[in-house]
């Protein structure tokens, strides 16, 4: 594990950590959810929990797009990839995610399906141009940061009149997931998770701005601090949350002042609203069905919508029953509560999505946290 001491900002980190310990009220607890998998990863990588007093608990949120995609959506991607004449272009993160019946995109590729890893949606458009006799489907996933790139790729394909390019859209919305954690009855019925405040994701907020979180502060009285990804950013954000909670405030504050504005990136938001509309319903692994929590292509772009073009419909399927990913994504269980964790399920042989993605809570626990937990 890389420790904070190794960096030149170690002194600053120690100073902030001391302030957190001094100011945290021992008479109460602080359950703080870091929404984003990038934060989860950083918290473990830099051993941030070691610096916090025992009454501050970091709860790992569902902000990992690979992790929250339900098995049935992955099955759709695998079915699309196995169609004759199709090239499925995907971000590398998706290749090893287990579908149902032990399937994965990697296994489909080994069986002869033409699946290409791309870094950017631009690469997927180039694939379509270079392969006019093939159908190129881009497997689009992600929160608000990857959505504008997908929108621009669809516009580029429309401009170039590419008739062989389409998108299998799985873009999901951060505020919907936070709302679901705070209010959805389905979540409450399963196992209520009481969260005192949120660390908001920096890059998502670069795009959507800080404004969408104001609702959570106003309506739910939960403070939100938008935080950068460096260890000092995270510590400072935790301190800001502690101070808000101590003072009984519930505001949206921005620790990551550099690139986040109240309105976000207007160009990006406009591109998204030109191409996409809200889906009436989308199923999330761990959070269940959440209305208006994901995007689909507008009718005007139906020709670029792989689901409509190839008549693929979602069929809910159960993943591995022993896998605790769903409860872990709600913050209700920890990876070490899962009996598969570290035994049948490791980063080399992942059985659940939270272990596949390096941003997933299980992968972060396994890579950086397991030794510490075992020692306790």
């Amino acid at each position: 594990m890389k420790h904070l001491d190794e960096y030149r900002d170690a002194e600053t980190a120690r100073r902030i950590a001391a302030a957190i310990r001094r100011e945290a009220d021992i008479a109460r607890g602080y359950r703080l959810m870091e929404f984003c998998g990038g934060h989860t990863h950083a918290i473990f990588r830099y051993g941030i929990e070691d610096l916090l007093p025992a009454n501050i608990e970091m709860v790992h949120g569902p902000g990992c797009p690979v992790c929250v995609l339900p098995t049935g959506r992955l099955d759709m991607a695998i079915r699309l990839a196995r169609r004759a004449g199709v090239i499925l272009a995907t971000y590398g993160d998706m290749l090893r995610v287990p579908g149902s019946s032990g399937q994965s995109l990697l296994k489909a590729k080994a069986d002869g399906a033409d699946i290409r890893m791309v870094y950017s949606t631009l690469d997927a458009v180039k694939l379509a141009q270079a392969n006019p006799d093939r159908e190129v489907i881009f497997f689009a996933i992600g929160f608000e940061t990857t959505t504008p790139p997908t929108a621009l790729a669809i516009e580029a394909a429309a401009r170039k009149a590419l008739a062989n390019f389409s998108v299998f859209c799985n873009h999901v919305l951060t505020p919907s997931a936070i709302a679901a954690i705070l209010e959805a009855p389905a979540v409450r019925e399963l196992d209520a998770v009481e969260i005192d405040g949120f660390l908001g994701p920096a890059y998502v907020s670069v795009v959507i701005g800080s404004q969408p979180y104001e609702f959570f502060a106003d309506e739910y009285r939960k403070p939100v601090v938008i935080s950068g990804f460096e260890p000092i950013d995270i510590l400072q954000s935790i301190l800001m949350l502690v101070r808000q909670l101590n003072a009984g405030r519930a505001e949206v504050e921005n620790q990551y002042i550099r690139a986040v504005t109240r309105d976000g990136n207007m160009r990006a938001k406009e591109a998204v609203s030109r191409i996409f509309e809200l889906r009436r319903d989308f199923e999330w692994r761990g959070l269940g069905h959440i209305p208006y929590s994901a995007l689909r292509l507008k009718d005007a772009y139906a020709a670029f919508d792989a689901e409509r073009r190839f008549n693929e419909t979602y069929v809910a399927t159960e993943g591995n029953k022993a896998c605790l990913c769903p409860a872990i994504l709600r913050g209700a269980k920890k990876p070490t509560d899962c009996r598969l964790f570290g035994r049948a399920c490791t980063p080399e042989t992942p059985l659940g999505s939270c272990m596949v993605s390096s941003e997933g809570a299980c992968a972060a626990y396994y890579t950086y946290g397991r030794m510490r937990e075992a020692a306790q």
Binding site: Y119, S120, G142, T145, R267, E359
Partner: protein, 88 residues
């Protein structure tokens, strides 16, 4: 996919594209989401697109941290585009 990196714009190559540099590696990216991008500026790069402009001091701070630890994000940047072009 979830990585983002500060990179420096070296040159604009089209209405929406620019060459950027990170640790001596140069790639072409989209700057379609940035108002009036200019050479010499730093932007946050994510899946081939600049998401936002950032100031140089911030960029240098993040890059120093990445250099100190050997980053997956830098490796991903270096490998960008390779698999897509690997097959005819």
């Amino acid at each position: 996919m979830c990585h983002a990196l500060p990179v420096k714009i070296i040159a604009l190559t089209g209405p929406d594209t620019a060459k950027v540099s990170l640790g001596g590696i140069v790639k072409e990216i989209s700057v379609a989401l940035i108002d009036d991008p200019r050479p010499g500026e730093y932007v946050v790069l994510h899946v081939g697109y600049a998401l936002a402009r950032i100031d140089e001091a911030e960029a240098e701070r993040t890059l120093a941290l990445l250099a100190a630890e050997g980053s997956d994000a830098v490796a991903e940047f270096a490998a960008a585009g390779e698999d897509a072009e690997a097959r005819p």
